[in-house]
Subunit: 350 residues, 2 copies
DNA sequence: CTGAAAGCGCTTACAG
DNA sequence: CTGAAAGCGCTTACAG
């Protein structure tokens, strides 16, 4: 039989002490209008006297929302001791708090392995939370599609709904022309020997940026040299490995390396540093993201930055609103970058 | 009346489909021993076919644990875009995951303001989680004491239980002699003109370190000059302000500044940098913590580092074990620092 | 080995 | 304005 919560009060006890029924206690707690002040005060004084808080599971079982969203964080490879991860988390937590929501954190190494899949599905399908936010997912994840099909409300970063417009799939995506803008920028600085460290081609944003880089090269009549085009994943280690391979396999050096994102660029820095190649003297570097650490590098990284705080505020707000059954919500949004010009990309021929 | 969860299965439906009673479904789900394989298989095939997950609130209301702990993060002042915050969070999340627990995140600006108090109390007193971890609390917080008195299981960093040994208050504290060790170290390097940037005297660790600094000075017969002893709080901004004030109000400069912790030391760096004072040429700096960012400074920061990963693993493990009713658990632990000698503290007279 | 039943603590439509 | 009652979905002691 259900275990009584030791010394905790329940609504029948409060009702008895206040001389009303449980129904009335509940109405007071839930701020129903049709309760006269005298009743309300009588009940509240007992509630406060005993520090009574209605049982969470009781409330939820009776039909209330949980007031919680899950933040599912897909972290492939090693754990990120990453300022950006920290700020993303805090953005989600604070955005949720602004709507009276709490965040349940779930970090999984991937979304393909049985154990991780089960942990994630369980959270939603048990009804432990009202909705979820996904960060770091690939562009096609069976778990995500499964949850969407089962009417779980999900807010996903960098994701296109496969079903077109599921009413419970909220998304935010990156502008599609960042890659092109990066190339235009370095081209404008006089660079013609351009290397690309791509991201993870299972991510929409990486594919988009890759295509943008290529469009930019073609538009400006730059030869695409595949020895200078590498996959670096979206992490520091990937950028490092890709740059090392690039340096090892090319006779002629590029004058600039455009990275899929700033974390990747950090790896580029490390590899160039180890090879004794000066930035931006010998090779310039440009990133994408506006990572908080980018201005702590030597030299500070020139990058195309996004306003992630604003992005998460909107994603979380739209997701919670959807979970609350509100309508007329924008299902997808794009975010746009702003050039943050620092000192890692020099002007050639000066 | 309780709202049915649209298309979600429940245990009576599964029972009907499997040709058994709800009791049996529950026994299978909960891995009871006395269920023959044939019954188990029959039930599980229905469970899997429909992707059934038992309702969280139903289970909890019937007496199961929530499998969740709350992480209450007291962040005074502005939001930390901080690698350390990120790694602490990840440590807690991963440590909890190792025990099958999920982490509910709650960030509050302080624990004294009515709204924050209420948010925090609600989480625990509603029974939303099995236990809590507190980071960043002052050494005497009424909310914390209240929760302890109401039998909530809490794991607290840098905290001494006021009641002595409440069986539900798990703690971890810093060694008490770090301050002394810092002074011994700089003394050994030839420093005699020693400045101190203290932390926040509402924290046990800051008080301890302060006392350690003083003991170290006395032991080594160093004059304590109060113009060189400042409060810097435990954050970058505090270290910055304190150092600026110190520079503005003293004629003679110290040869070394010992900071309460690394974040504070970051602020010391910034203030010295702005004043055009070379580190360690003109003034050396020593921190405490082993902050992940400390090796990214110029020059890299010499500091006394702690193993926070291990610390959180133990704190979380002990807290969860207590929540599970296990006994014989170590209530308090101390953690010990290791000197990480880098280049911010020079040897004098060489 | 298994089912019927009680109980966990709430909310809300219904009736007054 | 308010109470009695049904119902949310589970678990487990009890009885067989």
């Amino acid at each position: 039989l259900g275990k009584s919560n030791d010394n905790r009060m329940n609504s029948v006890e409060i009702a008895r002490l206040a001389g009303v029924s449980r129904s009335t206690v509940s109405r007071v707690i839930n701020r129903y209008r049709n309760v006269p002040d005298s009743t309300r005060t009588a009940v509240m004084s007992v509630v406060e006297k005993y520090g009574y808080y209605p049982s969470f599971s009781g409330r939820v079982l009776a039909g209330k929302r949980t007031g919680m969203i899950a933040l599912v964080w897909v972290l492939h490879g090693s754990i990120a001791y990453d300022i950006q991860a920290s700020s993303f988390m805090v953005h989600v937590i604070e955005s949720a708090a602004a709507h009276g929501y709490l965040v349940l954190n779930c970090v999984v190494p991937n979304l393909r392995e049985k154990n991780s899949i089960d942990r994630v599905k369980k959270i939603f399908l048990q009804g432990q939370v009202d909705a979820g936010i996904f960060i770091g997912t690939n562009n096609s994840e069976p778990v995500v599609e499964d949850l969407i099909n089962r009417n779980v409300v999900l807010g996903i970063m960098d994701h296109i709904c496969s079903g077109g417009t599921d009413p419970n799939c909220i998304t935010v995506n990156f502008e599609t022309d960042t890659g092109e803008r990066v190339i235009d920028y370095v081209y404008g600085k006089g660079h013609r020997k351009i290397a690309i460290i791509d991201g993870n081609m299972n991510r929409y944003s990486s594919v988009c940026r890759h295509e943008g880089f290529v469009r930019g090269m073609q538009k400006n009549n730059i030869e695409i040299r595949y020895e200078w085009m590498r996959y670096g994943d979206v992490i520091e280690e990937g950028g490092y490995m890709a740059t090392k391979e690039l340096l090892n396999s090319t006779k002629e050096l590029p004058t600039v390396i455009c990275a899929n994102n700033d974390s990747t660029a950090f790896g580029v820095y490390r590899a160039l540093g180890e090879a004794g190649i000066n930035i931006p003297g010998m090779i310039s570097v440009v990133g994408i993201d506006g990572h908080e650490r980018a201005n702590m590098l030597q030299p500070e990284l020139t990058t195309f930055g996004f306003d992630f705080k604003e992005m998460f505020e909107s994603l979380v707000a739209r997701t919670i609103a959807t979970a609350r059954g509100e309508t007329g919500i924008v299902m997808n949004e794009y975010i746009f970058s702003k050039l943050i010009e620092r000192s890692s990309c020099r002007e050639l021929g000066k």
